[in-house]
Symmetry: D2
Subunit: 335 residues, 4 copies
């Protein structure tokens, strides 16, 4: 059994992670932390949660675990990672702290000096399907952001193809409000969200933009610019990204699909829909899948890509990464 500790168990991501880990046949949760609810159990926060005792992060017994998951605010995550790595514990980080390779980029987008820049180079960016080799035995894994996961998985086959993509690629993304976290704010007040639909930080201003472009650059050094527009949906969970990839000349859908099937035909968590079908949130709620639909319109490929932001976009992919790190069945706990 893998002994796991969860830092930040009372956020939406932390609770989702606890649920996944509890179903996992080869994991036991050794501790769970919460700065606000220490001394209580997780059931005090979520009515269906188990009576898992919550302790303060600084009191977590790092010597008793094999792996820790960090569902912490950025910067706090990096500080905890340093402590855990020093104790020899594998770190699966779900924050943004180890996603960007450049400390400068991090500082520019996250308004903080990175607490541990020396760790950035070795952190594995855990878009699992494309990081398996590096994940095996890794000590520090950065779980990708939710929007990036929904956008990078469908872009990857195109970016490594010879298809004549023109600049820019446009990703119009819509997320359920659990992505905004558990802290009550004006923008996530029921009345504000319920009969509404609202764009935010569109164009090139959301923190996930540099993350996505960084990884696009790994796949294709001359990758197109990305225009990325997130919107807030009045639903609990799920991200649907509608992605527009323009080609400089006519391309048949039949020429495009093979790049996807080649990479994804045997992937348990990436599902390419039959021609004519479109991805929806209903395809992915509570699952670790990324479901992808392809539609050709003129010289534009319109991709619909859906994930559950709390599962494949966070806790599920984190556990998928843990499975890869420890060399166990990648789907364990996730189907």
């Amino acid at each position: 059994m893998i002994k796991a500790g969860v830092f930040g168990a009372t956020g939406y991501t932390g609770y989702e992670l606890v649920k996944v880990l509890q179903r996992h046949p080869q994991v036991e949760i050794t501790f769970a932390t919460s700065q606000s609810f220490a001394g209580q159990t997780l059931a005090a926060v979520y009515p269906q949660a188990p009576q898992l005792p919550l302790i303060l992060g600084e009191e977590a017994p790092l010597d008793g675990v094999d792996v820790v998951f960090l569902c912490l605010p950025h910067a706090a995550a990096a500080e905890t990672a340093v402590r855990a790595l020093k104790a020899g514990v594998t770190v699966i980080d779900l924050s943004a702290d180890f996603r960007l390779k450049g400390a400068d980029t991090y500082a520019a987008w996250y308004d903080k000096v990175h607490p541990a820049p020396h760790l950035l180079a070795d952190a594995v960016y855990g878009l699992t399907e494309f990081a398996r080799d590096q994940l095996r035995g890794a000590k520090l894994v950065a779980t990708p952001g939710c929007y990036p996961t929904s956008i990078l998985l469908p872009l990857r086959p195109l970016l490594t193809s010879p298809l004549p993509i023109t600049d820019p690629i446009i990703a119009d993304a819509k997320s359920g409000t659990s992505g905004a976290g558990r802290t009550p704010k004006a923008g996530t007040h029921f009345i504000q969200v319920h009969n509404n639909f609202a764009p935010y930080k569109i164009g090139r201003s959301h923190r996930h933009l540099p993350e996505i472009e960084q990884v696009m650059g790994w796949f294709c050094p001359e990758a197109p610019t990305l225009i990325f527009s997130p919107h807030l949906l009045p639903v609990e969970r799920g991200i649907l990204s509608t992605i527009y990839v323009n080609f400089s000349e006519a391309v048949a859908l039949d020429e495009v699909r093979p790049y996807f099937t080649k990479l994804y035909a045997n992937e348990p968590f990436v599902c390419l829909l039959p021609e004519g079908e479109l991805a929806t949130l209903a395809h992915v709620a509570h699952s670790n899948k990324c479901v992808i639909g392809l539609t050709m319109a003129g010289n534009t490929l319109v991709i619909t890509s859906a994930i559950d932001n709390l599962v494949k976009g966070a806790a599920g992919q984190a556990v998928q990464n843990m499975n890869a790190v420890f060399g166990i069945e990648e789907t364990a706990g996730l189907i």
Copy 2:
């Protein structure tokens, strides 16, 4: 033209009031206050609101208005009422401060010493349909609570009838979340409310209970006990109260309906549904009506009573009261 000032214009009730007053042919808004948004306009808070400048409450020019509406937290309302009355201005209070006649009861339920107990006796409890005589020329009006309005209007015909009501009367009430106000809280976070339905302060523990029982006692000194159970609905606005009145012997619906029609046949804002129809939120959204359905089941009369909590349950009834105070058409601004 009646010159009106609005204290607390940025809450849901305050904004609803501004909308009603703007449609009112005989009112002009002289000022609107907000402690949090002073210096900005109402449009900074609500995207469809007018560019109404917001000032601090303490800077409101009381000498320039005929009437003020208080959409303030309790206790703050009473303090402002004292100032306004001293300036000779009519006060329509939408808070709970002048609803209860006993300062002790107020202290017990609202955890505050009442700031102006000497005003309680003269404040008119503005359940408009039953307070017209007192409202004419009144200086201080307490607008009833939202739940009380939805429950008292249908109970009134029964309480003054000789029908053999037995103890207790049960009011199972359900409210949209705008009733909980504009301040973000865990309980009104989108994720908390959206796929949920939850009772709160049921039985005899909600602050509206003593208010309802006080008025029931005015109508009928030997009124039955009330059991009152509020619930939070995942909708924006509206209250549906399902009220159970048991009789000690069989009573035909035909014996009951006349008590309602006698009182309400000519009321513009109380609508008795035809036999067999039930009140729903769809009957009343954005209207100043209270819609009532009557169903007999065994010896029990089941009443369905619907209002819009922000209109007939707050801003609409407040304006209806203002109309009565100033002797103008009671429906002005409200149809």
Copy 3:
């Protein structure tokens, strides 16, 4: 392995049942039927469903299964039950066909002559917690209705107690719209439901009333009359019943709780909340639990009782019953 057939797999109850059975370690699904989608698979109806082939009900191979679940319209269920019983197959019916013991009562409430009245006497009414002895080895089980389950479980301890209950008991119940089925209707159109909340068939007019009163009579021959008012909630799943039990004299909550703890302390699927807590839909979504809160108010006990209408109110309880029939762990597939 128990071989199971599912009749009517494409309704909400049928699909929920397939999901439960697929998690069940001792069951395999041998066939699934659908009159509308025969020839396709369940994935054609629900995007996350498995590729389970759908056949016509009349072509179902009854000789290859140990048990069939009937998620069929009433009358159709009884006809299929006759066929299955003749083939020696155990029948777990989820329709209303075998819940009422009287064929006359059935005819009066369901507008049909009962197709198999001779089976009514032997059908076991599967409110599992109170039917275990009869369920063991039973050939025909009627799964209780969703509202009845949410009301009967909390009433049972009271009805067999000496507490001085007075007439009537009032159950004000609110259900998510999945209870209305998958067939598009005006009343379940998105626009009709979304910002609305509506009572329907209140008092003594809903088909679940005779079912509940029948079972109340089994528990207590002199059981009080029931007033039962269902309402439609703008959520997908869940029932919250707020139940009012009046006593003829003051009773302390401490006198009441022991009747519940005695029956339910060790029940895996009935959860009595600590004093002061109220049941909500969030307690039970996607679970087989009935969660119960008790509040004393004057002489009235206010019970909040929550279930997931598709799980404990249908598919989950059906599988719980199957487990009891075959003598396997009652929680198998359900936790």
Copy 4:
């Protein structure tokens, strides 16, 4: 007073139109038709509607009205238009029948032979802000589709500008479900929509595509191709279109805004947001406004454009057109 008849008053668009016309100081409704509810009143369909009698379309007294509004299915609208025009009545059509100028295009997209192709040339396409001259005294007006209105208003200033737009323009649009009409369908069943978000007919396959491209061509003969992707939102009303216009070189937002302010600074129903603000559904619910936000991102202009699909996208614009036809204040009934 203008005497108006409403054909198809019981659909969502028809009812919205009745509400607008009832507020209109210079209009009286002479008749309203419904094929399904003839003999009843509008209040039988919508609980807050007036007791407006409904008659069969074929019995409508065309000689008693100045104008008719057609809220009918396509083809049925054209047939009624022919009758009304013959009777000398002005026709404001809200269907798709007179939007496209080519009978062939109509046949290709609407699967019907056009019932009155001779009328197409003279029908005025009523995107009011750009059709005032033609509207004055017009006999036949085609009210634009909801999506086209939300897309054409913000594109117009660009299409008549010298800005270096490159091909294609992408419009990612999201609509509330009232756009799908009042007829219950699987796709608009509450359960199907509520926790979901789904694209449909994306790319170049929705019927509004040829309409939008036709009008783009009027504004700019060499207009770019449009990629248009509609999505269904779990809200009642409102359309948000996020539109991506790529330039072949860097363009400052300051160069773009003047083209908008020049056209729209004095328009009562087109509102250009200050820089940095984004359009949301909350800006436009229940209003006749189109609210537009502009964001520059790299070489791409990202436009957010919001309307209420039932008002500016249908009934409101229809009345705005009627006002223009009859030469009365264009905002009458609409503010």
